[in-house]
Symmetry: C2
Subunit: 370 residues, 2 copies
Amino acid sequence: MRYNSILKSAVFCLSTAFLLAVGTAIPAAAQDVPDLQTPKPPLVLDAQGSFVVGGEEIAAAAGDLGQGAAPGHITINQMYVEYMIPHGATKVPVVMVHGGGLSGKSFQTTPDGRMGWNEYFVREGHPVYNVDQVSRARSGFNPTVFNKVRAGLLPPAALPNISRTSDEAAWQNFRFGPSFGVPWPDEQFPVEHAADFSKQGIPDLNAILTPPAPPALSSIDSYKVLSDLAIKLKGAVLMGHSESSDFPLKAVLTNSTGIKGAIFLETTVPTRCLQFTDQEIAKLATVPILFEFNDHLNQQPAGVLASFHNCKALIAKINAAGGNATMLHPAELGIHGNSHMVMLDKNNLQIADLILKWMDENVEAETAEK
Amino acid sequence: MRYNSILKSAVFCLSTAFLLAVGTAIPAAAQDVPDLQTPKPPLVLDAQGSFVVGGEEIAAAAGDLGQGAAPGHITINQMYVEYMIPHGATKVPVVMVHGGGLSGKSFQTTPDGRMGWNEYFVREGHPVYNVDQVSRARSGFNPTVFNKVRAGLLPPAALPNISRTSDEAAWQNFRFGPSFGVPWPDEQFPVEHAADFSKQGIPDLNAILTPPAPPALSSIDSYKVLSDLAIKLKGAVLMGHSESSDFPLKAVLTNSTGIKGAIFLETTVPTRCLQFTDQEIAKLATVPILFEFNDHLNQQPAGVLASFHNCKALIAKINAAGGNATMLHPAELGIHGNSHMVMLDKNNLQIADLILKWMDENVEAETAEK
């Protein structure tokens, strides 16, 4: 029996107490400090902290680093990593990578104050490394193009597109319900705290990493940063979500040395599971891979159902090549109403248990055999 | 005897082992996972996690949230807060606010892998709330002006200035040494890991919070977010550093209800302690305030020595108004070589002890009396 069982009653009674009937606007229940739950027992950590990996030094011209700034050097394309190592950890480290328009906040406390996956995986014995994607949040971004455009040295078209998910787009694309403000009857996302989820959305600058004109710098490479991190950790499972869902697979193709397993959570982009060549599929067959898709796939947004089927086809190809790939679709197990933001759903720990079980059976067991 | 004493030997022997003679370029010792220290005993937390406070909803037009994006609503000006609550905490919560071109990473693990102030204050019994400033890192920023300029709807001059501290500017302004690559003989900053410090620098978008043209939105107000947070926490000490050094004082002026103490760490801006009216000084006199300045004040950068003296004059005025303001200048206590980035210095825990002692004597004692 997992730790989950101990928590379940406390977790569910609080969240359901706040579940209000909602209308056609985003619910306004504001998160407050008393919403933050205090799970028992205390969390005992052998270590916690943060570091920054990857990155390259560039020379910036006068003004590139702000109005009137002298020329100088800065680091760009680095990746911030925060970690918690449970007391007496024996299980494989897990690296968590958030999705588009979000940060490492995604795997922390939920918008309604429940335990995030980062702490839960730690409580289950896994060291957890939670990152901010390259060019996002605490990883920073390269400011030089913005200052050059501001100074008239580059045209406005040189600016990267900056994407920020609106509350309305989140409701539809993250599958909170059929129309803005209306949840699915079985919805697991804590929609009464949608306004708090809106606060953890941030601008997505990934477009800056793929400049339209060459040369693209080789180290602008989130995949290499991740495969390098797995090596530094002497073995890790990589978990990607949505925008980063295929980062773990790309990291396997870059350098699989440190990668003990790859977890692909929820993409709504149907081409993402179609992009691999037979040669690449042969390489993907060397690492245990879990794909995970949640509920309401046949309703919206366009593409998610096709994506689910395309990933199933990829799984078949990986397994035909001798690999170990699995689809976890909770709805097939009778667990309904999970959203795209499954790590924040009300039953987030129930879904985590399924992933932990997969790691126990496919990663820990395999490592033990070797 | 503080926990510091237990750690001292382990902490110092590792850092000095890495201290290499450096030349005229930024030292290249790259941080790696083995650099990360594992303090004993394990850290026992009653709770840890994150939440987001403040913010306001705005309506974005088509294209404002990215090329082709539909109109919709987003939240801006919110503030990300991460927290750790030690087991059996009895001491006053501390809110830590980082400085310019940096994020909450400043109070975490040092660039050479030692314990950050956030964990140390927790180990000393204080709940710690470490934030990303409004418009920075995990707090996000308002992307609409960037997308409008890119689309040609606003002129390039509408872009906010984005400031990023170069390695060279950091060396001088953060008082690592007399010239780039050369440390002061008694320098406490871990200069052998300056390249790792470079990786935690990020773009500073504070200029976006003070648009040149009115109306400035009232809730674009880091001070109010902080004073509100102190109330939510039912009392807290606010600590600001450098760019945010005066945020705790401004928060006192906004609403002192929840503020049990204010800590002003290191500003190089001489006007910052000159900005308060007599009426405001009378209000500052209602809260215990600690000012802290480090070493090499008479050398560089220009302004820091004047700032030190101006803050001493402010202290005298606050105390003349019946307040309790103190200057902590470790050099006067025989502790030399501390930098602007004191929370990352090799003796960061020694300086933390002085701050903790001030809190014990001026905040905890005062609270106990009431």
